[in-house]
């Protein structure tokens, strides 16, 4: 789960060093926001969990199905079936869902959340979700590297919804980090917005499924990714910094949802 090139292009639009973008932001929002935007994976904010804190997916996940097992055959057949979706709106959505490590990536959940998830409008939530993505990315390495499952498209050089970047080719397929991140984001957002649970979690499932549609992951990678995402989140719930940020994010989202003029401070103080 490294920065895809299309995401890099999108991220470039909001880069801090870009004077034009800075001026644009200042013009539209009046104040300078804290420098929470980042350019690429190298500068991505770190996660909450230390190495010792991360649950070991190699132990608690089942291994990926063997190629010649019934599950392996089902995985392969699903991959083949997805070819028919090429060029459809679902394929286009899968391409958009490939963006996961830019500051704006959580916008994939904006409609489901009923709040515009944007690094400038909801900086606390945006940074929290980015840090969770980093925790998932770190925690998955051991399992991905050990299983070293080959990506589905490597067998037949089949079409994928994104460019076959070097990291994508080299990284193990199992479990899916995108699916884990998307599911963890959906779970977190529904904790923060209990009234939107169904829409958020439905989007969470579909965000992961986008990796199958994109033909960069097997269905079992995505299934395991969901399991893995919920497990990382369980561990995060025992992390003080994460819990403190969840509290702040809850207030931030309540304010972002509220009509103009209802600031977070007013809401917290119970003022009109």
């Amino acid at each position: 789960m490294k920065l895809p090139s299309c995401a890099a292009a999108l991220a470039a639009l909001v880069l801090i060093p870009c004077a034009a973008a800075e001026a644009h932001r200042a013009h539209h929002h009046g104040t300078r926001t804290a420098p929470l935007l980042w350019a690429d994976y190298t500068h991505h904010p770190a996660g909450y969990l230390s190495a010792a804190d991360r649950p070991d997916a190699l132990t608690f996940l089942p291994p990926p199905p063997a190629t010649d097992s019934p599950s392996g055959a089902a995985d392969r057949a699903t991959y083949t079936a997805m070819k028919a979706l090429k060029g459809t709106p679902r394929w286009v959505e899968a391409t958009a869902d490939a963006e996961v490590d830019t500051p704006g990536a959580p916008r994939a959940f904006t409609c489901a959340a009923g709040v515009e998830l944007d690094p400038k409008r909801t900086p606390v939530t945006s940074l929290l979700l980015a840090r969770v993505m980093a925790d998932v990315a770190k925690a998955e390495d051991h399992a991905k590297d050990t299983y070293a499952r080959k990506r589905p498209f490597l067998a037949d050089d089949g079409d994928t919804c994104v460019e076959k970047a070097d990291w994508l080719v080299k990284q193990g397929s199992y479990p899916s980090g995108h699916a884990a991140t998307g599911w963890a984001w959906a779970l977190i957002l529904s904790e923060l917005e209990p009234g939107r649970t169904e829409a958020l979690l439905k989007r969470g499932v579909s965000f992961g499924q986008s990796r199958v549609v994109c033909r960069v992951h097997f269905a079992s990678d995505v299934e395991a990714g969901r399991l893995f995402g919920s497990a990382v989140l369980a561990r995060l719930h025992a992390n003080r910094a994460f819990l403190a940020d969840m509290k702040r994010a809850r207030t931030e989202l309540a304010a972002a949802r509220a009509p103009a003029g209802c600031t977070a401070e007013k809401l917290a103080a119970g003022e009109r």
Partner: protein, 285 residues
């Protein structure tokens, strides 16, 4: 996990785990020794945290079960057929145990016998079980998916429950919903043991496939359902407060001197966690 009968003793509730998948749950088969020592003598009124009004509608979230004849359906059927060969073995016996002993499943990964679990932990899990029941029944009744053993009529690990199981649907697995939710919550309360707890929670779901009463897809989406439930519970301030309190007491109990769970049982469970019968029967990871 439908039409749960709310058992008349707290200890029995814990022992039975309150997540009976059957229409008419059998009497708890666990011995009184497995009841927590701290169990109150009178039955507290155990309300769900969310209740039917606030439980997420998982019909809108879960993918539908595999259509008859589809790839997923074929995989479910093949796995059911192949795992019948496990009847009578050690993994089968664990599946039978897991069918009725829910909280006990987490004794080994926690390293703490249920009799030493602080009361707030058991209470929280028992109240959560009521919500697990609601969220599962809603989806089961909607998806209307038959049990795997109905068509081929093969052996199941809980033959005495066959008639009861026939009266409820298969998708998603209620035992798995409850056990994955329990695993996530215990991992949160005892983070040092998170990996072990989650491995056990995963194998507990697999026991339903081994038993022959659920398909692979029932179990996979049972886990999804369990994490949906936990997210919804985390959206409830009263639950969050209970969870913090229970976690604190559980960590204190783990830090205090205590007896170890049965080593033989723990070995059997560790072996099951290392071997998913339809994925890596020989245990290679």
């Amino acid at each position: 996990m439908s039409r749960m009968v709310w058992l008349c003793a707290f200890g029995a509730l814990l022992a039975a785990g309150a997540a009976q998948a059957q229409t008419a749950p059998p009497a708890p088969t666990t011995s009184p020794a497995t009841s927590p020592a701290s169990a109150p003598t009178s039955m507290p009124k155990l309300d769900p945290y969310l209740g039917k009004d606030r439980i997420p509608n998982s019909i809108l979230i879960l993918p539908p079960p595999p259509v008859k004849g589809s790839l997923g359906d074929q995989l479910d059927n093949e796995t059911y057929a192949k795992t019948r060969a496990l009847a009578g073995g050690e993994r089968w016996a664990l599946a039978t145990r897991d069918a009725t002993q829910y909280v006990q499943a987490f004794e080994c990964p926690l390293g703490l016998k249920v009799t030493d679990w602080p009361k707030p932990v058991g209470l929280l899990l028992a109240r959560m079980a009521r919500d697990a029941s609601s969220i599962t029944n809603l989806a089961k009744d909607h998806f209307d998916h038959p049990r795997p053993f109905i068509a081929p009529n093969g052996p199941i690990c809980t033959e005495n429950d066959r008639d009861g199981l026939m009266k409820s649907y298969s998708y998603p697995s209620g035992h798995t919903t409850y056990s994955w939710a329990m695993g996530l919550l215990l991992a949160e309360m005892a983070p040092e043991r998170a990996t072990e707890i989650l491995a056990r929670a995963r194998a507990f779901g697999e026991s339903r496939v081994v038993c022959g009463v659920h398909t692979v897809s029932d179990v996979e989406e049972g886990r999804t359902n369990g994490s949906v439930l936990v997210a919804a519970l985390h959206g409830d301030a009263a639950f969050r407060e209970d969870l913090l309190k229970a976690g604190k007491e559980l960590r204190a109990a783990l830090a205090a001197p205590h007896a170890s769970p049965d080593a033989g049982q723990c070995r059997i469970e560790a072996d099951a966690e290392a071997h998913t019968p339809w994925i890596n029967p020989t245990g290679t990871k």
